[in-house]
Symmetry: C2
DNA sequence: TTATTTATGTACCATACCGTATAGTACATA
DNA sequence: TATGTACTATACGGTATGGTACATAAATAA
C-alpha cells in the first residue's frame, strides 16, 4: 500500500500526518455513515486532511475504504488471536465474546456494530472485490475458531469425537448475530445474554457430542 | 401511509400503477445498491414511474424506503409463518432454512442476501427510526422461533425442560450468519451446510437438554 | 544555489443528487 | 358540464458529490 520504508530517506516534502491515524479516523467515519453514505468531504473533515492529500495518499474513495477495511480486519485479527490464546477453552471463548461486544459498542454513539457487517456487506451487492474481502475475513474467522476447538480437543479438554468446525460455527454465528443487534441498538445486557447462551450451548455440546 | 381505502370511492383519476408492485421494484433496487447507494433517479427508472409520481405516492426517499422495508418484512413474516406451520418440528426447521436460503439467493445477481441486513443495518448508525424497525423485526423473529419450540415441547416432541428461547437462538443466529454469507457470495452448498449444521445442533440439544 | 520531488491548500469542475415547479392530460364524482 | 384528483413529461434549482488544477511550501539531491 502506502510506501513507508523507514530506510528510504523520504525524498520530497514529508507528510504532516500519520497514515494509520488518518486511516483510523476514516474508518470511524465509514463505520458511522456506511460506505455510500460517507462523502470525501466528510472524510477530509474527519481526518483533518484536505481532499488532495487524501487522494494523494490513498488513490480514491474505494481504495481508502479498502485500506480502512484492512486496518479494521488487522485490528480485529489481533484481538481474536489474543482472546483465543487464553489458556482454558471456556475462558478463551468468554474472552472472545467479551472482546466482540466491547468492540461493537465502542464509542457509544459512533461506530456501533461490526464495521464489516455495517459497511462492507451492503456493498457486496455490486462490488465483487469487497465481497471477496468479506468472504476471506469470514473464512479466516471460521478457521481460527475451529483451530481453537481443535486445540482443546487435542489438549483433552473436550471429547475426542467433537467436530471443531461445528462447534466453531456456534461461536461464529453468535458473533454475527450480536454484531447486527449491536448496530440496531440492543443493550449491552441483551448482547451479553446472547453470548452467554452461545457459550452454554458449547458447554453442553462439547463434551457429549457423539 | 398510502391512503387506499377500498370503500372510499376514490375521487380523482385512479392510479395507473399498483403500489405493491412499485414497492417491490423499489425494494429490489435498494436491495442491490443499499439505501444510500440508491438514487431517486434509479428508483424512478426501476419502477417505471417519474419522480413526481414517486414523491406524490410515498413522500420522500426515506419514507419510500421504510415502505419497502415494511413490504419486505411483511413478505418474510408470511414465509416464516408458513414454514413454522409445517407439522413436525424438524421438518418445520428445515423448511425455515430452505426458505431463507431461497430468499437470500433469489434473483441470482440482484438482491442477494437479506434485505434488512444489507440495507437497514448500515443506516442504523444514524437513523434511530430504522434502528427501531430492525429491533422490532429481530424481536419478532426471536419470538416466532421460540414459540415454535414451545409448541414442540407442549406437543411432546422435545424434552419438557428444554429452553425454547435458547433453541430458537441457534436458528436465529444461523439465519443471520447465512444472510451475511449469501450477500458475500458464498455458494448455495455452503449455505445449506451451515443450515444443516444448525439443525443438527438442535437435534442433539433438543431432547437431551437438562 | 538550483533543481527535483513530494505534500499542502485553495479553488474549482463536471456531474449527480434530492426534491419541486410547471404544463398539460386522463379519469373519476357531482 | 364542472371540478377535483392523479397521472405524464420535462425542466430546473440548489446543493453535494467524487475528483482535480494550480500555485505554494518543505524537504532532499546535485
Amino acid at each position: 500500500m502506502v510506501q513507508k520504508n523507514a530506510d528510504a530517506p523520504a525524498r520530497g516534502r514529508p507528510r504532516k500526518f500519520d497514515t494509520d491515524d488518518v486511516l483510523a479516523r476514516a474508518r470511524d467515519t465509514f463505520w458511522r455513515y456506511g460506505y455510500a453514505g460517507t462523502s470525501m468531504d466528510q472524510l477530509a473533515a474527519a481526518t483533518g486532511l484536505h481532499k488532495p492529500s487524501l487522494y494523494g495518499a490513498f488513490g480514491d474513495k474505494k481504495q481508502l475504504y479498502l485500506a480502512a477495511l484492512d486496518n479494521y480486519l488487522a485490528d480485529i485479527r489481533v484481538d481474536f488471536a489474543e482472546a483465543l490464546a487464553v489458556p482454558g477453552l471456556f475462558d478463551s471463548l468468554d474472552a472472545v465474546i467479551e472482546m466482540s461486544i466491547d468492540r461493537f459498542l465502542r464509542g457509544a454513539e459512533n461506530g456501533q456494530g461490526c464495521f464489516m457487517m455495517s459497511t462492507a456487506i451492503p456493498e457486496c451487492g455490486e462490488d465483487p472485490e469487497i465481497a471477496r474481502a468479506v468472504r476471506e475475513a469470514m473464512d479466516m474467522l471460521d478457521r481460527a475458531m475451529a483451530r481453537r476447538f481443535q486445540k482443546a480437543m487435542e489438549g483433552g479438554e473436550i471429547a475426542d469425537a467433537a467436530d471443531p468446525a461445528a462447534l466453531g460455527s456456534i461461536m461464529v454465528a453468535a458473533h454475527y448475530d450480536i454484531a447486527g443487534r449491536a448496530r440496531a441498538g440492543y443493550a449491552l445486557a441483551e448482547l451479553r445474554a446472547l453470548g452467554d447462551r452461545a457459550l452454554e450451548l458449547v458447554r453442553v455440546l462439547a463434551p457429549t457430542r457423539n
